[in-house]
């Protein structure tokens, strides 16, 4: 999967501990439009498990998880 995905909105949650990044993603997706791509940046180790799990459970699309310098990018498509 290319890392060159252009997100419609980036949520920089690198300063937050669990469950901050996931909560920010949920709040943003709930207000967002179907078909849009959202990207969360997180340094929280729990996000690696929690964000993909929630995305799957919430029936959205986990486009990709990419390791960057010191943080992880979670790219999610709102599909419903």
């Amino acid at each position: 999967m290319s890392q060159e995905i252009i997100a419609d909105q980036v949520i920089d949650a690198r300063g937050s501990y669990c469950p901050g990044p996931l909560m920010e993603l949920i709040k943003t997706i709930r207000k967002g439009e179907v078909g849009k791509i959202y990207e969360v940046w997180s340094k929280d180790a729990g996000s690696i498990r929690d964000i993909p799990k929630w995305v799957t459970k919430a029936n959205h699309e986990m486009v990709g998880v990419f390791e960057e310098n010191g943080h992880t990018r979670f790219v999610v498509k709102k599909v419903r």
């Binding site: 901050g20 949920i26 799990k53």
Partner: protein, 136 residues
Amino acid sequence: MSKLVLVCDSGSTEKLQTVALVASGAITSDYEVFIFFMHDAVYALKKDAPPEPEITSVFPEVSNKINQARKEGKLVHWKELLEDLKDLGGLRIAACVQITEILGLEKDDLLPFVDDVAGVNTLAEEAMKADQVISI
């Protein structure tokens, strides 16, 4: 949908923070959650409650690091977390009627995310319908 009941009977910052964190894990995993606040946890729900004390640990280093993270906004405050969780749905919050009355409070004196002022019979009913009950 599976259901979790959380009982919080302490107004200490760390207990309140724990309740909100556990609730967030459950709500984001699609569980229904009922939180019952008792004793001085009810006082913490007052709209005009005084600033809460810092987290205290038997290990000073733990207190210092957690309180620093809170000051820097890296930890979501329990009130903010509960507000956000209410917005997601699946969360009901009740304050113990006995303590509410002893404190001379009414439901309108409590934070807006409090759904009910209820007795322990309500807690018992909710607990009997739940899959798990955790007392914090």
